[in-house]
């Protein structure tokens, strides 16, 4: 082994090592470069995901808001619900809806901080917002003094104030704020909030309309109620006077006079009937019909009505078949007078619309656990179309109108209401020219 050989090995070892080192260094640098790329891509992905998440959440909340509000008919409740969703489910810290024009009233204020709404209402930027000058501050630090004032009241660093507009009408101002020191409202957020303000304006408008409608309806009902009351007295007076005349209390009448006075008496009776029906229906609408429940036998109710209608039945020449004179009692919990009224209307209809010599069947029996009252006639019938509107106030079928020129169209409306109030059900089956069957089911009195 010479020195020369030894010396020759060393440089080649060093060279190998140096080469390996070199390759390692390159590989590491490459690994570093790739890692950087991966992380940058990952960051991009993360930012995109974050934006996507935000927008999906916004969409979800918008949908929730709109669905929930649909079933509400109170404007304040609706506004509160919408504000809650925005603040709780999204990153906003405060939502205020001011109803205009200025000076505003507060529709809703929902916030984690105390907001002085009196001061808020007076701010010039808010008044300008109502006049369509949108306020959009994404960073408080770079905003003007007017916007700074708004930021202070809202305790927020980023916010918008948008006019609430629907169909050319302005309802107020929608304010939404963010108080996170690191987040701010983006362009996307602004677009979303513009959609929200449209939704809010739309909700306010439709609820306003509904409210106005209800108000008008209640005025109508009140009017009918008052008018009917006022009419009752003079009509009663006429009735008694005519009765006296007919009885001969004011002197004898000749045949001609008697005929005309009789006609007048009957017309008056009809007017009294109409006034009573109007009063009943308005009482029903206002929920003022009084109910005193007691155990009654349904058969006896029907008997009472049939007794009263004896004269009319004979006059009309119709035949009434009934089972109320025999069989088991059919006990129900009912208000005597109101249920009589309901059943009278049904039986009245049957008698009126059935031709001479035809049969009307009135049955009281049990169907499963219910007491069932059936009024079946062989009268003019009701068309399928008209059956849809049968229980609507003032509705009279065309064929009914042709047969009987008078009639209020309130009979079935009242009957339906009363039966429902008794926790019962009413059903009408009919065929034109064949006849009509009206069936009522009423819950039995307990213990029967």
């Amino acid at each position: 082994m010479s020195n020369k050989e030894q010396t020759n090995d060393q440089p080649s070892n060093f060279q190998d090592l140096a080469a390996v080192n070199q390759r390692l260094a390159v590989a590491l640098a490459e690994q570093q470069r790739i890692a950087q790329l991966v992380i940058q891509k990952d960051l991009e992905l993360y930012t995109l995901n974050d934006t996507l998440d935000r927008q999906v959440n916004q969409l979800k909340v918008l949908q929730l808001m709109v669905n929930e509000v649909r079933s509400l008919n109170n404007r304040d409740k609706a506004l509160r619900l919408m504000a809650r969703r925005l603040v709780q489910e999204l990153q906003f810290s405060a939502v205020v809806v001011l109803l205009g024009p200025p000076p505003f009233t507060v529709g809703v204020k929902y916030s984690y901080h105390e907001i002085d709404t009196d001061e808020l209402k007076r701010l010039p930027v808010i008044i300008k917002a109502f006049e369509k000058k949108i306020v959009y501050v994404d960073r408080l630090a770079s905003a003007g003094p007017d916007e700074q004032a708004l930021g202070k009241v809202l305790h927020a660093t980023s916010f918008v104030a948008l006019p609430l507009q629907c169909h050319q009408k302005f309802y107020g101002v929608f304010i939404c704020a963010l108080d996170d020191p690191y987040l701010r409202l983006s362009e996307h957020d602004r677009e979303f909030l513009e959609i929200v303000s449209n939704a809010i304006a739309g909700t306010i408008e439709s609820l306003d309309l509904e409210e106005r409608q209800h108000y008008i309806d209640s005025l109508k009902t009140e009017f009918i109620s008052i008018a009917s009351h006022q009419l009752r007295t003079p009509l009663s007076a006429i009735k008694w006077i005519l009765k006296m005349i007919l009885n001969g209390d004011l002197g004898p009448l000749n045949a001609e006079q008697a005929t005309y006075i009789d006609k007048t008496y009957k017309s008056n009776e009809r007017m009294i009937e109409l006034v009573n029906d109007l009063l009943d229906s308005s009482r029903i609408e206002e929920g003022r019909l009084e109910y005193t429940l007691a155990e009654v036998d349904a058969r006896l109710l029907v008997k009472e009505i049939l007794d009263q209608y004896r004269v009319l039945i004979d006059r009309q020449g119709v035949i009434v078949e009934t089972n109320v004179d025999s069989g088991e009692p059919a006990m129900i919990l009912a208000d005597h007078d109101n249920l009589i009224l309901a059943l009278t209307n049904l039986i009245d209809n049957a008698i009126k619309f059935t031709p001479k010599k035809q049969t009307i069947k009135i049955l009281v029996d049990h169907d499963r656990s219910f007491v069932r009252i059936t009024v079946k006639d062989t009268g003019i019938g009701i068309s399928a179309e008209d059956q849809q509107q049968l229980f609507t106030k003032f509705f009279r079928a065309d064929n009914a109108k042709r047969m009987q020129t008078h009639g209020t169209g309130l009979g079935l409306f009242i009957a339906n209401n009363i039966i429902r109030k008794h926790k019962g059900r009413i059903k009408v089956e009919s065929e034109i020219g064949v006849g009509t069957t009206v069936t009522c089911w009423l819950p039995p009195a307990k213990g029967s």
Binding site: Q31, V38, Q40, N57, Y112
Partner: protein, 403 residues
């Protein structure tokens, strides 16, 4: 021998109402239990609420039942994750005992704070088997606090917990101890009596890029990596200048790309979140980074995070079954905020994955933390599992109670 719990959650804007509502729901679920059996109330809350008002609201319902809790960066219940909420869990049991204690100021001396807590826990419980700790999330070296506890309780004493959060603002976090709202301290509970518990810990983060050496560090402050200012590693990867990185707490940008320390005798990484950057580019982390150690940048993904959660839940259930239990009734989840950030809307999926494993009868409560504590250390214990507790980041820690 039973342990049952019930959870409540509220998102009212009024702090008192929120606390009250959540507590009411939680207590309502235990109506059929003897009031004397309700042993512990856990409360986790967003910092959007005035903390004192919120706690008063809770106490208005729970009264004198021992209460432990802290502020969070997001809350968790059986229903899933939520933000801007208060969550309350009421635990009823006839076999497990919970005894509370408080440690000292972490900023002054994190080690001593841990020791004081441990001494307090030892003093109130003669048969302590596991400690739950809730340290302040921003006050100091989390690992030192754990070490302080271990100095008193023993190196392999199981310690589980999470560091308080504050909705990702990194300003100030709070701890709730009975009726007090504190800050900057560590609080805890010693669990004794008879219990079947399981602990699952996983993170799912993977290393990326070449490893670097910690050439200069002191405690939780990392000065230099491979001889260069530590913040440069983030500058290189994020492509941002140091100035930008200093304007927001670094934690907000870097929490999903933390630093990972290889654990001795294991292929697991112990993760350290960087919280702030200093003037000379030094990184203050949630817990210490030892000088001379090798560090990798770590990257997470939604899939890996959900997988990790499932594995943690499986491990937890496994341990309970090993002790003869059939089902998990109560679980406390300490979930790192970084996971919530990575998962985004899929955060619900992570909780669902945990629920699926733990079963229908499990009630969950938890929060998103700025750090977790759990046994993931060296496997040198005779029971065969990793017993040494460590302060971690990016992990999901599930503490389950079984029957």
């Amino acid at each position: 021998m039973f342990i049952q719990s019930s959870v409540g959650r509220s998102q009212e804007v009024d702090a008192f109402s929120a606390g009250q509502e959540a507590a009411r729901q939680a207590m309502g679920g235990l109506k059929d239990k003897t009031p004397a059996d309700i042993k512990l109330i856990l409360v986790f809350s967003s910092v959007v609420f005035d903390q004192n008002k919120m706690l008063s609201g809770v106490r208005s319902i729970t009264e004198n039942i021992p209460l432990l809790g802290c502020s969070s960066a997001g809350e968790i219940t059986t229903a899933g994750p939520s933000k801007k909420s208060v969550v309350v869990m009421a635990i009823a049991t006839d076999s497990v005992t919970f005894n509370l204690a408080m440690g000292g100021n972490i900023k002054e001396d994190a080690l001593a704070a841990g020791r004081t807590l441990a001494e307090g826990l030892k003093a109130v419980s003669s048969d302590g088997k596991l400690a739950i700790m809730l340290p302040d999330g921003l006050a100091g070296n989390g690992a030192d606090i754990v070490r302080g506890l271990q100095q008193v309780l023993g190196e392999n004493f199981p310690i589980v917990g999470g560091a308080a959060g504050d909705d990702f603002l990194f300003k100030e976090t709070y701890e709730y101890y009975n009726d007090q709202v504190l800050t900057g301290v560590v609080i805890g509970a010693m669990l004794g009596g008879e219990m079947k518990i399981g602990i699952g810990v996983r993170h799912g983060w993977q290393p990326i890029g070449p490893p670097r050496k910690v050439t200069k560090s002191k405690g939780a402050v990392l000065y230099e990596l491979d001889g260069k200012p530590a913040v440069q590693v983030y500058e290189e990867y994020f492509g941002k200048k140091a100035e930008e990185l200093k304007s927001e707490p670094l934690a907000r940008l870097a929490i999903t790309y933390p630093l990972g320390l290889r654990i001795a005798h294991s292929d697991e990484y112990l993760i350290r979140d960087p919280i702030t950057v200093g003037e000379s580019g030094e990184l203050t982390c949630a817990a210490e980074v030892p000088e001379g150690a090798e560090i990798n940048l770590m990257m997470g993904s939604r899939e890996n995070a959900i997988d990790a959660a499932r594995q943690a839940a499986e491990r937890c259930l496994e341990e309970i079954k090993e002790q003869g239990g059939n089902q998990v009734t109560t679980a406390i989840v300490f979930n790192c905020i970084a996971r919530s950030k990575v998962l985004g809307r899929d955060a619900q999926k992570e909780i669902d994955a945990i629920k699926k494993v733990l079963g229908e009868s499990a009630q969950l409560v938890g929060f998103y933390t700025y750090g977790e504590q759990a046994p993931i250390g060296a496997k040198n214990c005779s029971c065969g599992r990793s017993c040494k507790s460590e302060f971690c980041n990016e992990t999901v820690v599930i503490l389950g109670f079984g029957e």
